[in-house]
Amino acid sequence: MHLFLLGVSHRTAPVDLRERLDFSSRDVGAAVETLAARASAAESVVLSTCNRSEIYVASSEPSRAREELIAFLSEYHQLPRDAFLPHLFTYDDTAAAHHLFRVSAGLDSLVIGEPQILGQVKDAYQAAADRHCTGPLLNKTFHWAFGVGKRVRSETGLGEGAVSVSFAAVALARKIFGRLQGRRVLVVGAGEIGALTAHHLRSHGVAEIVITSRTAAHAEALAAETGGRAVPWSDMPRAMGRADIVVTATGSQRPIITRAEVEAVTGRRRPDPLFIIDIAVPRDVDPAVGEIEQVFLYNIDDLQGIVQENLARRGGEIARAEAIVAEELSRFTAWQRSRRAIPTVIALRQRFDDIRRSELERLETKLGGLPPDARARVDEVTRLIVEKLLLEPTEQLKALPDEETQAVYTEAVSRLFRLGDGSDEPDASPMDERRRRK
């Protein structure tokens, strides 16, 4: 059985094509089931995000699987083959696993190290597993990939540091206040980045979002959108006095928050820190405000600087992450190789057991006189001898270092013990073996 992958991603296809090949907006589970019904894909998982649509299958005939998957994509999305063929990528076996490991680690993402992808891979696998569309090969490969994703996350800084302005602001707020639950936020101005930051803060559980804008209607619209409360522009100083985090994003041409205004609401009256995020250009907050002891003032350039640094730092972690992926891949391929030896091992054991049984049958007349427990012991002893004789060769066969050597050895074993022609076909079950021998 071979691992085969076919798909498009942000590296190979433009966004309009990715949209047309997207599975996530429709039922991924139904797509997997349709796919699994096809003969060439014994197991299948469909991974579909805004940056990629990938189909992983376990197939005994990868070339046939390729043709069938292309036909499936064309039918399912009602697209002519030629529209997507030049943008497709396909990988077999080790290369397919390598790709999946890199995807899970966030190495293949548009924003390197972004954290959502591992969850998306898990969801894709779960959707297939719930419909019984996965089997031994994809189960193992995907679980291995989850492990790789986790290792990269915990052992490298690939996913660390915010890589967008609004996330950088939230990360800073968390370094100042710890948990954001119970904190109060004041948003001054109802612009897009201000709204985005308010949304992020809301998702971190802030207690209250107060919005003020020179145009009351804008403030009310944003308040409705973020579950906040709009207050009149004239109430801004009072709202600032109650806030822990202030986000300013107005179109004002000169500072709207001065040092004196902030000093009036901080100091002895309010010992807690005040975090002011000034996203506006030109700036809304007088830079001198940052000199007040408990005020942390960050403007858009500071936040963008953090984002750039984080991106650079993530770039520096790529090599370490790739090394982890490579290490896991070599362990994975070793496991795959050991798996390929299994049919030969089963056939070998079967052959030895057949000999054992036929010898016991031949001696039946002599052994027939034995009491039942002694007879059972003879059976047990001969079985143990066979097992012990085969233990070492089995282990050796599984642990062979590369595919070619393994092919030579399995071939040799098959010939030496006349294991039959189909013995090196992967994944042949013991039942199949028995049937063949009859």
Binding site: E160, P271, P273, Y298, E309
Partner: protein, 274 residues
């Protein structure tokens, strides 16, 4: 006997440093495990000494330091386990190892003095040592706060920024450590006064007991310490002295504690030299 805990504290220090630098969870777990073993070994050492002299060994400066180190290790482990925050270990463990070199190098002779064999004396010294251990924690938390504060304020979000906890967490932990330390310091000083009154009645001619007054450098500095931490506790509540001011206060406070502990204990003869 004090050498084994010293080696283990030093090993824990190395593991905490590796954890701090690499942020590998395994290194962190290893560091905590080694520190737990160090604390166990130290408990065993102190237990053996207690059986030998029939009271917890702290009647000479070296053994008092050893007991202080042990209490600090236990307090830190408590803090780590309740807050799930390991990054302070890189500062605490080297401090434990550094101070533990003193009893390991010169253990001192623990005198068995019937005068010291009283529950109030035991309570006096153990309360003070526990208070000092809390102040040590508070000082480390305070200095860490200052480092983190400076990184965020100056917008240099570098090595320490990513590794240290949030300002709020550090400030709350500092406030708790100072409050607990102040409570034990108060108990220690009050019980000390009670003990000296009782002891004076029993042995009116003892020169040490006669010398126990505010003129004695050790007692004077202890009272000064109490004054400073009382101010820290009050200033936080009444004047909003939290954050950086509270952090500096706890650092200065612990410097005075260390001064009382090391130079005064070793180089100045006081009424507390037994």
């Amino acid at each position: 006997m004090n050498v084994l805990p010293l080696i283990l504290y030093a090993a824990a220090g190395v593991a905490y440093a590796v954890h701090f630098a690499t942020r590998r969870p395994q290194a962190g777990r290893l560091a905590t495990t080694v520190l737990v073993f160090a604390a166990f070994a130290h408990t065993f050492v102190i237990g053996m000494q207690t059986m030998e002299v029939r009271h917890v060994p702290f009647a000479n400066a070296s053994s008092a330091i050893s007991t202080f180190v042990w209490l600090l290790a236990l307090s830190y482990l408590y803090l780590e386990m309740t807050s799930d925050e390991r990054s302070m270990g890189v500062f605490i463990a080297p401090m434990l190892a550094g101070l533990q070199t003193i009893p390991a190098w010169s253990p001192g002779i623990e005198r068995i003095d019937p005068m010291l064999d009283s529950p109030s004396f035991w309570m006096h010294v153990s309360s003070l040592l526990f208070a000092y251990a809390s102040f040590a924690l508070a000082a480390v938390l305070g200095l860490t706060y200052v480092v983190q504060f400076t990184e965020i304020k100056k917008k240099h979000l570098g090595f320490f920024y990513t590794r240290l906890p949030s300002l709020q967490t550090l400030d709350i932990m500092n406030a708790r450590a100072v409050a607990v330390g102040w409570l034990f310091l108060t108990v220690g000083v009050v019980v000390g006064v009670i003990w000296v009154t009782q002891a004076r009645a029993a042995a009116p001619d003892d020169p040490n007991l006669r010398a126990m007054s505010l003129d004695d450098p050790k007692i004077f500095v202890a009272v000064l310490t109490w004054g400073l931490y009382s101010f820290a506790v009050l200033a936080r509540r009444m004047m909003g002295w939290s954050g950086r001011r509270a952090a500096w206060l706890s650092a200065v406070g612990f410097t005075i504690v260390l001064l009382n502990f090391l130079p005064i204990s070793y180089f100045v003869r006081t009424s507390h030299t037994f």
